[in-house]
C-alpha cells in the first residue's frame, strides 16, 4: 500500500469533517437577546428532555412574532449535555461565559440541577427549572417552576385518604433523592394522620429497573390484608413501562389497588398501551385534557410548531410556558436582561397558566399552582377527578422534615436568604 496516498486520503477526510463542523456552527446575529437551552438531546434523559427543548424554541418563536423583547429578537442557544452530569456544568458555563446568555431554561434530573447550581451562583445567571422536584433547596439564581412536594405529593395523598378511603400505603420509588425525600415527607405526613408503621411499605428500585415481577407480587400480597391499599409511585421514567405492564398482567386494577404516580404524564403514557391502566392516577399541576382556551391555543401552537397533530403536551411543558412568560414579563418590568435586576423584578410577577388561572412567582423562587388529580383514560389522556380549591404556594423547605422545618426562604430585599433559620 502506498503510505503517502493513504495519508493524503485520510488528511482529506479529516479536513472535510472539520469543514462540515465549521459550516454548521451557528452564525450569531449581533443584536439579539440570547437565552440558553440546557436539555439532554441524547443519552438516557433525551426521552423526556427533547420535548422541553422544542417547547422553548416554540415559545421563543412566538415571542419573536409578537415583536421580541425590549425591541430585540430573542435567540435560543441549544446545547446537548447528553445526560452526563459533569457535562451539564460544563455546558452551563459555556452558555453563560461564551454565549453570554441572559437566562437558561433547562435541566430535568435533580443531579443535573445540583451539578449546574454552583456555576449559576458563581456567574450570577438565571436558571428556570421546569420539573417537579424534592424541594429542600432555594437558590438566588434558580426559579423552580415545577411542583415542590407540597404541590403534588401531599394533596395526592389527601385525595386518596379522604375520597377513596385508603388505609394501607405502598410507597414505591426509584432510588434517588426525589423519591427518597418525597417518601420521607409522606411517611411523616401519614404518621401524623395516624397511619401505623405496619400499614406503610416502602420499596426502592434502581434506575431503569425492568423486572418488576417480585415487587408487584409483593404489592399484591400487601394489598390482601383486608384494608384499602394504594400505591404512591415515584418511579422514574423508563422503569414505568415495565412496571405498569406487570401490574396489568398480574391483575392489579385501579379499583382494587390504585396507583398514583408523580412522574407519569401524557408523554410517558404515549409509550405505553394504556388499556390495562385505565383508572390509575397521576397528580400534576396541568393535564393536556384541561378545558381552557389558553390551553387549547397552546396545544394548537404546539401541533403546528412540531408538525405532528398527535404529539401530547405535559406538565413540565406548562412549567416552561409559565417560566418563560414570567422571565419575559420581568425583563420588560426591569427594562434590562441584567440578572440582578431580573431577580428583583420577577418576584411577584403573575402570568396566566394553562389551567384557567394565574401563577405568581413567590419570594422563595417557587410559584403558585393548582393541584389536579387525573385518572388515566384509554386514549392515554387524564380525566381530572379532583382538584385543590385554590392555588397552592410552593414550599422550598418541607414542614414535615426535621432538618428543614425551621428554615424559610425569602429573596426579597432585607432578608435575601435562601435558608434562614426561624426559631419558633
Amino acid at each position: 500500500m502506498n503510505c503517502n496516498r493513504l495519508f493524503h486520503r485520510l488528511l482529506f477526510i479529516t479536513a472535510a469533517l472539520f469543514c462540515c463542523m465549521a459550516i454548521v456552527s451557528p452564525a450569531s446575529a449581533k443584536d439579539t437577546i440570547k437565552i440558553g437551552v440546557l436539555h439532554s438531546l441524547s443519552g438516557t434523559m433525551a426521552i423526556s428532555e427533547t420535548t422541553l427543548k422544542d417547547t422553548i424554541l416554540m415559545l421563543v418563536d412566538e415571542q419573536n412574532k409578537k415583536g421580541g423583547l425590549l425591541g430585540k429578537k430573542i435567540e435560543a442557544v441549544v446545547v446537548d449535555p447528553a445526560s452526563n452530569w459533569p457535562l451539564f456544568a460544563e455546558k452551563a458555563r459555556e452558555l453563560i461565559e461564551k454565549d453570554k446568555v441572559a437566562a437558561v431554561f433547562g435541566c430535568w434530573t435533580s443531579v443535573s440541577r445540583k451539578s449546574v447550581l454552583p456555576v449559576f451562583e458563581e456567574l450570577d445567571n438565571l436558571l428556570f427549572y421546569p420539573v417537579q422536584y424534592e424541594g429542600e433547596e432555594s437558590s438566588k439564581n434558580v426559579f423552580y417552576t415545577g411542583a415542590a412536594p407540597n404541590q403534588q405529593a401531599i394533596p395526592a395523598v389527601d385525595y386518596l385518604m379522604n375520597e377513596i378511603g385508603v388505609k394501607r400505603w405502598v410507597l414505591a420509588g426509584t432510588d434517588y433523592v426525589y423519591p427518597r425525600t418525597t417518601n420521607k415527607i409522606l411517611q411523616a405526613y401519614l404518621k401524623s394522620k395516624g397511619v401505623a408503621d405496619a400499614d406503610i411499605m416502602i420499596n426502592y428500585t434502581p434506575f431503569g429497573h425492568s423486572d418488576w415481577q417480585s415487587i408487584v407480587a409483593d404489592i399484591k400480597k400487601f394489598g390482601t390484608a383486608g384494608k384499602k391499599t394504594a400505591v404512591v409511585s415515584t418511579i422514574n421514567g423508563d422503569a414505568n413501562v415495565p412496571f405498569y405492564k406487570e401490574l396489568g398482567n398480574q391483575g392489579i386494577t385501579a379499583d382494587n389497588i390504585p396507583v398514583i404516580a408523580f412522574s407519569v404524564g401524557e408523554e410517558e403514557l404515549s409509550g405505553i398501551d394504556t388499556k390495562p391502566l385505565v383508572g390509575h392516577l397521576a397528580a400534576w399541576n396541568y393535564f393536556m385534557s384541561v378545558n381552557d382556551p389558553a390551553n387549547d391555543e397552546f396545544i394548537e401552537n404546539w401541533h403546528t410548531f412540531i408538525k405532528n397533530p398527535n404529539r401530547v403536551t405535559n406538565d413540565p411543558m406548562e412549567a416552561h410556558y409559565i417560566g418563560f412568560n414570567m422571565w419575559v414579563k420581568a425583563v420588560e418590568k426591569a427594562g434590562t436582561t441584567d440578572a440582578g435586576a431580573v431577580q428583583d423584578a420577577i418576584i411577584g410577577v403573575t402570568v396566566p397558566n394553562l389551567t384557567g388561572g394565574y401563577s405568581a412567582m413567590m419570594p422563595n423562587h417557587h410559584i403558585t399552582k393548582p393541584v389536579l388529580i387525573g385518572e388515566i383514560q384509554e386514549d392515554g389522556q387524564f380525566e381530572v377527578v379532583w382538584q385543590t380549591p385554590g392555588l397552592v404556594v410552593g414550599d422550598a423547605w418541607s414542614d414535615y422534615l426535621p432538618g428543614s422545618k425551621d428554615l424559610i426562604s425569602d429573596w426579597r430585599a432585607p432578608l435575601k436568604n435562601g435558608n434562614f433559620k426561624v426559631t419558633k
Binding site: 438531546l41 441524547s42 438516557t44 433525551a46 426521552i47 427533547t50 420535548t51 375520597e163 377513596i164 432510588d175 426502592y204 428500585t205 434502581p206 431503569g208 429497573h209 425492568s210 423486572d211 415481577q213 417480585s214 415487587i215 407480587a217 409483593d218 390482601t224 390484608a225 383486608g226 423508563d238 413501562v241 415495565p242 405492564k245 406487570e246 396489568g248 398482567n249 398480574q250 391483575g251 385501579a254 379499583d255 390504585p258 408523554e267 410517558e268 404515549s270 409509550g271 405505553i272 398501551d273 394504556t274 388499556k275 390495562p276 385505565v278 383508572g279 392516577l281 385518572e375 383514560q377 384509554e378 380525566e383 377527578v385
Partner: protein, 542 residues
C-alpha cells in the same frame, strides 16, 4: 334481564333469585321503577361524579331488564350521550365513526361522528361500585364458573343480609363449583358470627382454602377470645395454609426466576454466536435487539387490528431486519477486523452510537407503545395465590423454541457445520473448501437475527426506545462469559441459573443488592474457572 336462564338453573331457583335480588336493593313498584330508571339515566349525563353515582343507584333499584347491559357498557366505556339532546346511547366504533343505539328508544343510528357524542366518564369509585353490582347480578345466571368467580370476588366484602341470601342460594344450588364457593363464603362469615360448634365445622370447611379472605378470617378468629378448641383448630389450619402459601411462594419465585432467566438467555444467545463462535465483541448487539423491537412496533402499526398476527409476523420480520443490518455491519466494518477482537469492540461501539442516534432521528427519542395481544395479557390463575403472567409464560417457551431452533441449525445443517469448522480452524476449513468469508457474514447475520427476535420478546415487557439495547448489553456479556464462550448449552444454563439466583436473593436483599451479589459471584466464579461453566475443549480452546 333474566331472560335466558341456563338449563342447569331451574325456574324455581330463578324466581327465588329474583326475589333475593330485589332484597338486595329494596324493590319498587313497576311504573315508579321505570321513572327511576329514566331519572337515573339523566343523572349519568351530568358532569359531577356524585350525581352519576346517585343516578346509577337509581338505575340499579329500578331493576330494569337493561341494567346489566347498561352497567357493563359503562364499565367498558361503550356508553355515550348525544351532544344535542342528551340521550344516553350505546356506541361501537369502527373506522373513526360510531354506530349508536339508544338505551331507551332502541333507535340505531349509523355513522355518527365523534364530535356529536360524548363518552360518559367514570372514576374509580364508580368503577368499583359497577364491578360489585355486576358480580352480584352474575351470581344468578351464567355458567357455573363465572358464578363461582362472582362469589369469590365478593369474599370479605359481604354484609350480613347478603350472607343470608347466599345461604338460601346455597340450598338451591346444583353446581358443585358454585356450592363450594358459597360454602367458603358462608364459612368465613360463620367464623365471625357463629357459635363454637358452628365455628368448628366452618373451620373444617375452610381447611384447604387458599383465598386471602380465609387467612384474614382465621387471623381475626385467633386474635379473638374463643374457646380453646376453636383456637387450636384455627391455629392448626392457619399453619397448614401458611405452609402451603410458602410452598406456592417458592413456586412463584421459581417462575419469576426462570422468566427473568429466559429473557437473559434470549438477549445473550445471539451474542453467544457472534462472540463465542466468530470471536467478535459486538457492542452493537443491544442495538440489534432494539431494531427488532422497533420492527415489531412498525409491523403493529401496519396491522393495527390484528395484534396477534402482528406479533407472529414480527418474529420472522425482526429476524430478517436485524440479520440484514448485521450482515451490512459485518461486510462494511467487521470484515476488516478479524483476528483483532478488541478492535471489533471499539468499532462496534461506534456503530452502536450511530444506530442509537439514527433511531432517535427516525422514530423520535420518545418511547413507542407496543400492545400485547389477548393471549399474551393477563395471567393464568392456578389458585387464589398463585397465578402466572401469560406474557412471561409465552416468552419462556419462545426462548426454549429459539434455543432449540438455533441448536438444530448449528448441529444439523451444513451452515452449522461450516460455522463450527471455521470457528475451530479457519485455515484448515478454507483448505477444505469452506467459503470462510461468506460463513462469517452468515454467522454474524444469524447472531444479529436472533438479537432481533429477542427484541420482539422484549417489546412485550419493557420500553421500546433508543436506550433499550444499552440496558441488556452488559448482562448479555456476563451470561455468555459465565456460560463459557462458544457453548450454547452454557449460555442457556447460565442465563436461567443467573435469573433464578437473582430472584431468590431479591426478597432478602432488594433488587440492587441481588444484582451486585450475582455480579460479584460471576467475578469470583471466573477466577475459579476462567473459561466459564462449559469450557471449550480441545485445540480450539484458548
Amino acid at each position: 334481564m333474566f331472560t335466558s336462564p341456563k338449563s342447569r338453573f331451574p325456574a324455581l331457583l330463578f324466581i327465588l333469585a329474583f326475589a333475593m335480588y330485589a332484597a338486595f336493593f329494596e324493590g319498587l313498584p313497576a311504573n315508579a321503577a321505570a321513572r327511576t330508571f329514566d331519572q337515573g339515566l339523566e343523572k349519568l349525563t351530568q358532569k359531577d361524579f356524585n350525581n352519576k353515582i346517585q343516578g346509577l343507584e337509581q338505575i340499579v333499584q329500578s331493576k330494569d331488564p337493561q341494567v346489566e347491559k347498561l352497567l357493563s357498557a359503562l364499565l367498558e366505556g361503550d356508553l355515550y350521550y348525544t351532544q344535542k339532546d342528551k340521550e344516553v346511547v350505546y356506541a361501537t366504533k369502527s373506522d373513526g365513526q360510531y354506530t349508536t343505539t339508544g338505551v331507551l328508544s332502541n333507535d340505531v343510528t349509523q355513522q355518527v361522528g365523534s364530535r356529536s357524542i360524548r363518552k360518559i366518564g367514570i372514576n374509580n369509585n364508580i368503577r368499583k361500585k359497577l364491578k360489585g353490582w355486576l358480580s352480584l347480578l352474575q351470581l344468578y345466571h351464567g355458567p357455573p364458573r363465572e358464578r363461582a368467580d362472582a362469589v369469590y370476588r365478593l369474599l370479605g366484602k359481604l354484609s350480613p343480609d347478603m350472607v343470608d341470601s347466599l345461604k338460601d342460594l346455597y340450598e338451591q344450588e346444583t353446581s358443585h363449583k358454585v356450592r363450594q364457593a358459597l360454602a367458603t363464603a358462608i364459612a368465613i362469615d360463620t367464623l365471625k358470627t357463629g357459635n363454637n360448634e358452628a365455628k368448628l365445622s366452618a373451620l373444617s370447611q375452610l381447611k384447604g382454602s387458599l383465598h386471602p379472605a380465609v387467612k384474614t378470617g382465621l387471623i381475626n378468629l385467633i386474635n379473638e377470645k374463643t374457646s380453646e378448641q376453636v383456637q387450636k383448630k384455627a391455629t392448626k389450619i392457619l399453619q397448614r395454609i401458611e405452609s402451603r402459601i410458602a410452598f406456592y411462594g417458592f413456586l412463584e419465585t421459581l417462575f419469576f426466576g426462570l422468566s427473568a432467566g429466559s429473557i437473559l438467555v434470549l438477549a445473550a444467545i445471539g451474542l453467544a454466536i457472534t462472540f463465542g463462535v466468530i470471536g467478535v465483541i459486538n457492542m452493537a448487539h443491544g442495538e440489534l435487539i432494539m431494531i427488532g423491537a422497533y420492527t415489531t412496533w412498525v409491523i403493529q402499526q401496519l396491522l393495527p387490528h390484528h395484534l396477534g398476527l402482528a406479533i407472529c409476523l414480527a418474529v420472522p420480520g425482526a429476524f430478517l431486519v436485524s440479520a440484514l443490518s448485521g450482515i451490512v455491519i459485518e461486510r462494511s466494518i467487521i470484515r476488516f477486523l478479524y483476528g483483532r477482537p478488541l478492535e471489533t469492540l471499539l468499532a462496534t461501539f461506534g456503530v452502536s452510537l450511530v444506530l442509537q442516534q439514527a433511531v432517535r432521528s427516525v422514530f423520535s427519542p420518545l418511547n413507542r407503545a407496543v400492545s400485547a395481544p389477548d393471549w399474551m395479557s393477563g395471567s393464568l390463575v392456578l389458585n387464589p395465590i398463585l397465578s402466572l403472567t401469560m406474557n412471561r409464560i409465552v416468552i419462556f417457551f419462545f426462548c426454549l423454541f429459539v434455543f432449540g431452533a438455533l441448536f438444530l441449525i448449528m448441529k444439523k445443517t451444513s451452515l452449522g457445520l461450516q460455522v463450527r469448522a471455521v470457528s475451530q480452524n479457519r485455515a484448515m476449513a478454507r483448505a477444505m473448501g469452506v467459503p470462510a468469508s461468506r460463513v462469517d457474514a452468515l454467522t454474524f447475520g444469524l447472531g444479529s437475527g436472533i438479537a432481533g427476535v429477542a427484541g420482539v420478546a422484549l417489546s412485550q415487557l419493557t420500553n421500546v426506545g433508543p436506550n433499550l439495547g444499552q440496558a441488556y448489553i452488559i448482562d448479555s456479556f456476563m451470561v455468555v462469559v459465565f456460560g463459557g464462550v462458544g457453548n450454547l448449552w452454557g449460555t442457556l444454563l447460565a442465563g436461567l441459573s443467573l435469573g433464578t439466583a437473582n430472584k431468590f436473593i431479591e426478597p432478602f436483599s432488594g433488587a440492587v443488592l441481588a444484582k451486585i451479589i450475582v455480579l460479584v459471584f460471576i467475578i469470583l466464579f471466573i477466577q475459579k474457572r476462567p473459561q466459564g461453566l462449559f469450557p471449550q475443549k480441545g485445540r480450539a480452546a484458548g
